[in-house]
Chain length 344, copies 2
């Protein structure tokens, strides 16, 4: 901040010896400007440390910024929570001259997801994508970015892509957290620990498993980790898997559920009569998980705040387009731990 007064567009235009419109074109990459002029203006912007006034920009903007959320189809409660959150920020987004919209896509089919992303060209200004990390998906994201669409990944990252940001938690750390909690809650008892995941193919699940194994094998030698079961995030499939596990393993002292399908797991635990005795840790504070916590069936729930994630994705998507300031600390999604006592 060279002097007391904020530097604004007119200052840049004057210093660069061009008009407001030209500066605006450069700043928004609208094209139709000589390469030399572009470079020159950019240099001046840089030198003067120009930052657009977000209030003025929003006020003047005619068209709404259209942001599309692409979420997994299916019956996942957490995804429904995300969708509800998108709806509930509608009015707030309206005030920022933006509109959000949810589309569902089959995440288990990368080709379908990629096709759906491809269809977004020209139909939105920003896309928030929750999907599997697959070469087809990555390519589709890169295409969107190349055509000027801002892409933010949500919950599960596609790190090799050109997405501008990832909104979600560090899943390795989340797995470690689950393990520490489970290990300490089990206490001195020795025994076996089961793991149920959606699929090894899902990046976030694999990462959580990795972190969980690290801590259990490294720090709780009295606990023996059983091979993970894959329940495809469906209660219909997790319930029989866990029932069978409970029968086969009388020594089971802990259970970690990495993905969805928790209603099935809860049912199996309750039916076995060993609920509360087996330390069960799961993810995402859905209404069912909440109830399991209150009933003492679940010992702890690791959560990522759906509302925070949606707001954060929106802010980052808008900021990427408008040059508005982002507060990194505000956008960091916490690994929330919920016990019966600190439920919101």
């Amino acid at each position: 901040m060279p002097d007391g007064t904020r530097v604004q567009l007119t200052d840049v235009a004057q210093a660069a010896g061009v008009s407001l419109a030209t500066v605006d074109r450069v700043l928004h990459g609208r094209g139709g400007v000589r390469a030399r002029t572009v470079a020159h203006v950019q240099a001046v912007v840089e030198r003067l440390g120009y930052r657009p006034d977000p209030a003025a920009a929003r006020l003047a903007r005619k068209r709404h910024t259209r942001v599309v959320f692409v979420l997994p189809s299916g019956t996942n409660t957490f995804v429904d929570m995300l969708e509800r959150q998108v709806r509930s920020v509608g009015a707030w987004l309206g005030e920022q001259r933006a509109t959000a919209l949810v589309q569902r896509a089959d995440v288990f089919s990368p080709a379908a997801l990629a096709r759906q992303l491809g269809a977004l060209h020209g139909r939105c200004d920003a896309a928030v994508v929750m999907g599997a990390d697959h070469p087809l998906v990555r390519a589709a994201i890169d295409d969107l970015v190349d055509s000027g669409i801002v892409v933010v990944t949500l919950v599960s990252d596609v790190p090799a892509s050109k997405r501008s940001r990832f909104v979600g938690i560090d899943n390795v750390a989340a797995g470690r957290t689950a393990a520490s909690l489970l290990g300490r809650f089990v206490g001195a008892r020795a025994g076996r620990v089961g793991v149920v995941m959606g699929s090894r193919g899902l990046r976030d699940h694999a990462e959580r498993l990795f972190g969980f194994e690290q801590v259990i094998t490294g720090e709780y030698p009295q606990l023996q980790l059983l091979p993970p079961l894959e329940g495809h995030d469906l209660s219909k499939r997790t319930e029989p898997l866990v029932s069978k596990l409970l029968q086969a393993e009388p020594e089971l002292v802990g259970l970690y559920s990495i993905g969805a399908g928790n209603r099935g797991i809860q049912a199996a635990l309750e039916r076995s009569g060993r609920a509360g005795d087996i330390v069960w840790v799961c993810h995402e504070l859905t209404p069912h998980a909440r109830q399991a916590l209150v009933n003492g069936v679940a010992a702890a729930v690791i959560n990522q705040d759906a509302g925070h994630e949606v707001r954060s994705a929106c802010r980052l998507a808008l900021a990427a387009r408008s040059g508005e300031r982002v507060l990194p600390e505000q956008e960091r999604i916490r690994i929330d731990i919920f016990l019966r006592d600190n439920l919101p």
Copy 2:
């Protein structure tokens, strides 16, 4: 929303049969308007469901909104973190046409705090106050509010006052959370549990103690709660207190530290050679608490996010003045639980 288009100031003015300026005066309580006109305009605003456009309002506003944070003086690390956060949102506030400033006050002297609050009249538009809940303080807050200053309480509430909002956590729930964590971490071992607090006079400390006692006595009968020690939030005083406690109580299995002075507690625990063996739970993720967690001296840290609190207080203070929308979910401060594995 009666029709597709947003209702704006001109609509209200037209419907009320007055000018823009008059509507503005009414909306901002600037006075100089006949009581009948005021009532009429307010009715129209209500009927039409008018909401000001925040971008336009901010752009047009000439004067910056001045918000003053009044924080406890002394050497409390958490308070320093709050102050640092205030500093770090300066640029962001600038974009909203606001300026924040920190003052320190002696919280242990209600009279001094009240006097300092009194001195704020005419020197700011909003005050964010962290202070003891005392009749003098309450009266000072009410005076500020009566003179048109927005008051937000921070961390420790003054519920009987006219403050417009409280930003902080539910401290009873925080105490319960600490107890559950401590109880489960101790496991099957029976023994005694110590408590160190700043003072019984501090509302937040008393509430935490209440929640903690509830859970320990109700759910962990094998744990015997010792009478709380008061260390005035100073390491100089907590260290000898805890040292003495450790000598007197060979059966000590858990320790809950409700307030500050954690460096002293950590030192005492480490010197005793029983660190890690005694389950120690404390509050606020200061650098020291963080280190204690990493070293395994502290089992868990309950936290309220200083950055979140400061941003939230600012948003609420500004929104109260401008009629801007607040997202209640976004302003809820979480009771964060940190283990070694989910540190930010």
